[in-house]
């Protein structure tokens, strides 16, 4: 049996605390008088119980915790739909230039021209990439981009005096699609997909009427396939007055190949933390700009970055706006990273991204097709979905395979998504991985398929090399322990 990869370390920072130890140094207060302007009634009565540690305690503790994680920098991370590509180091240096990172959001426009220029130009670049007329950079993540997009659609219908109450979403969609749509005040109607994850056009047509505000769809779909009849679908929707929304989670497949706007989409969001290389950070921050066609422009979130002559400004006078999504202008630090990336790649580089993402996914799919059932026949786009239904006959589930991969030095694919595929393993290699890495991963997957037949217990036992073994989820939910109490 393999040994644990990281040395066992089981401390929380609170458990390192020693009364009186100090990890900071501030200059002495150089103004006369104490804070006697704060009356006693507002003051804290019991000091907050926080760790008391030295700076080196902090460094060693968090260094050790970091070693209990897999990241893209250290491991292949084939998490489908998440586009776990290399996050360039140059992006980090650029986002940390003092003029960006130490800039206050309410600095006068005259004092933030560089930042406004970058936002204006990034908006134009994203518009070109998606074939859209305008982009709002404000949404903080994909789900907030969805909310903004659906609210703009709602405002558009309302401006035309139309009362539409439903939004159609395929059963293969990401969970945020129905959640954001419901938050925007719509009833969510699920429409069926074919076995290949494509839209059942007849089923869609049956649902399309004057009560439907929008159809929301992911392209390529969550099975990794391009929707071959997409233009027919958007035309059909428009003929019924229905707006069409594209979830841009899978945009990495079509850069410079096809554009949502040209396909007939009215709205599309971008996940800068997927396609445009901003780091995932263990769960964010992301950025979810939303692109729209001209008829939705009046409804954009405020403020909008505008260019008056050679001067950039934040335009607040937008009476039909859906409002604001964040207090300030968007996750600017992420915007700097995405801008840096697009400028690094250029048009040919971005096209090569998608070509290589598609090549890598098809290569993995081909190498796995003997040992796993494919959810849909190839060729795929940037990701492929395989099913572990064959392995399940031996009692080995998609989750078991995911855990065994951790032992073999890989993060796991997305599991049990899309929901329409039994025992789904959704694999997105991305363009930044080499053939050697893909071969090593495929070898591991094939090894696990063999183990499922010959030594299923080995797979059930996994993982054994990680800092902890399988965890008791039921206990965590039944007896919630959500903070350290000593």
């Amino acid at each position: 049996m393999a040994h644990k990869a990281a040395p066992a370390y089981d401390k929380l920072v609170f458990e390192l605390s020693s009364p009186g130890r100090q990890g900071y140094a501030l200059p002495a207060n150089d103004v006369p008088g104490a804070a006697d302007g704060v009356p006693a009634k507002y003051r804290r009565t019991i000091p907050a119980a926080l760790p008391e540690v030295s700076e080196f305690d902090v460094v060693r503790h968090y260094s050790r915790l970091s070693r209990m994680n897999y990241g893209v920098d250290t491991h292949f991370y084939p998490l489908g739909s998440c586009t776990m590509k290399y996050n360039p180091k140059l992006n980090e240096d650029m986002a940390r230039l003092p003029g960006f990172i130490a800039l206050h959001p309410l600095a006068p426009d005259a004092a933030s021209q560089g930042a406004l220029t970058l936002m204006y130009e990034l908006g134009r670049m994203l518009s070109e990439i998606a074939g859209m007329d305008a982009v709002s950079l404000q949404p903080a993540a994909g789900a907030q981009g969805e909310l903004a997009g659906v609210l703009m659609i709602r405002a558009y219908h309302a401006s035309r005096g139309e009362k539409r109450t439903k939004v159609l979403i395929p059963d293969s969609a990401h969970g945020t699609n129905p959640a954001s749509t419901a938050l925007a005040g719509y009833e969510v109607i699920e429409v069926k997909s074919t076995r290949d994850g494509e839209v059942e056009i007849d089923d869609l047509a049956r649902h399309l009427d004057e009560t439907v505000a929008a159809f929301m769809i992911t392209v390529p779909n969550t099975l990794g396939n391009f929707e071959p009849r997409i233009i027919e679908i958007t035309n059909l929707c428009h003929s019924k007055g229905v707006q069409v929304y594209m979830d841009g989670a899978n945009l990495n497949a079509i850069l410079g190949i096809a554009r949502p706007g040209d396909l007939g989409f009215d709205v599309c969001h971008f996940n800068l933390h997927k396609t445009f290389t901003t780091p995932h950070g263990g769960g964010g921050p992301g950025a979810g700009p939303v692109g729209i066609k001209a008829h939705l422009e009046p409804f954009l979130p405020t403020p909008v970055v505008v260019k008056n002559g050679e001067v950039y400004a934040l335009d607040w006078k937008r009476p039909k706006s859906i409002g604001k999504l964040q207090a300030f202008w968007g996750n600017f630090g992420m915007l700097v990273r995405a801008y840096t990336y697009i400028r690094t790649m250029g048009p040919d580089g971005l096209r090569a991204v998608s070509d290589n993402a598609v090549l890598n996914a098809n290569y993995v799919m081909k190498r796995l097709e003997q040992d796993y059932d494919l959810a849909a026949p190839g060729p795929c786009m940037h990701e492929c979905v395989v099913s572990a239904r064959r392995q399940k006959k031996h009692g080995v589930t998609a989750m078991d395979i995911a855990k065994r991969l951790l032992d073999l030095g890989f993060y796991a694919p997305s599991t049990y998504f899309p929901l329409i595929v039994e025992e789904a393993l959704m694999i997105e290699p991305t363009e930044t991985e080499s053939k050697q890495t893909l071969d090593a991963f495929c070898d591991a997957m094939i090894q696990i398929a063999r183990e499922a037949e010959r030594a299923p217990d080995l797979v059930h036992e996994a993982p054994v090399t990680t800092p902890v073994r399988r965890l008791d989820q039921t206990k965590a939910a039944r007896e919630p322990d959500l903070k350290w109490t000593g």
Partner: protein
Amino acid sequence: MQRYLANTPAEQRAMLDTIGAPSIEALLARIPAKARLPRALDLPAAAAELELIREMRALAAANADVNGYACFLGGGSYDHFVPGVINHMILRGEFFTAYTPYQPEASQGTLRTIYEYQTMMAELTGMDVANASIYDGASSLAEAALMAAAVTGRSDVVLAAGVNPLYRRVTQTYCDGPRIKLRTVAAPDGTIDLDAARKLVDGTKTAALVIQTPNFYGCLEDIAAAAEIAHAAGALLVVAADPVNLGVLEAPGRLGADIVVGEGQGIGVPMSFGGPSLGVFAAKKALVRRMPGRLVGATVDLDGQRGFVLTLQTREQHIRRAKATSNICTNVALCALMATIYVATMGTQGLIEVGEQSAAKARYAADRLTSIPGVSLRFPAPFFKEFALKLPVSPDRVVGKLLKQRILAGVPLKRFDRALGDCLLVAVTEKRTRAEIDAFADALRKAVA
């Protein structure tokens, strides 16, 4: 070859041979011709690393950052000191380039830091539980309004006029779909008019009373009095508070708050022109199953060893879809990590010192600035580290003049409230020196003369 791409032409050829396809183009055959872009994208040509660094430095240099300017701007983003150790730690690729911890065995680092973060936020706010983060203070407040409506089954949310108007606009956007009505209680003296609040908070309709303290004008609100009004009507009290102040100011949970939200930018997150930020969200234990966002819980592994997992996920969109408590998925975990390391580094005493110095320097600045003829405090209520000044000349003109002297003088309030067109909002953190404050006062004296 582009340096972020891995496969050489020879490797591409080998892969295509394995696949059995003549070209990459052949793999794209499912995309109909009329769906294809018939030209290259119209974008600037690729820039080499050195070229791009020059271009980006020029853009960055066109901004007035706080390294070269004395910053007295606040209004929701504050120039607090960030110890250097934080950046070094978050840049470890294992933290930085990890995804949401869906495979807990390979994500114990992230899960542990979130559990530490939840503990710290619960302690600072005086609440039972805190989640793993929301995008920013404004969207946290919006989520609190939605949650209060869901918990109480009521349709109105009453906001004090002192709540940051940018937060109010975000809350309005979120409440549009669910048809939650926002009502406002005036703050004629800078803090909530408690009598007016008592009249407006309704025993059948009001889901929550929302206050912010210190509020947008910098004034301290009476949390306990607001709690009494809310609870008498069966409504929740939502308090927006800045955790960096909570070393000195009382924990809202000890004064009756049911939900505490806040902007955590001040605890270790760079201003970065307003984002990414850190939405703090904490609540009473009884409300945990209605909370938005991710929660990390402690449990044990097969060997009985302590471990951590994402838990109570049946609240979330990937399981509950249209019926989820919130649509949030990606949050701001890395900013929560910055906050965790900040709080660990500063500790109990450090946060007290940051708060005391900020308050003392704000007091000193207010005294100096209001000694200038024609300049006065707009509101009589006690403030903490921020205050509204009434000026005898246009605040926009003052800001423009002082910018030339490398002073970011404050936020003109005209954009937020026309009735405060003659006011400038001034914030003072522990970073400001006596010399900077004195220079500000001298410059303002000349600017209004």
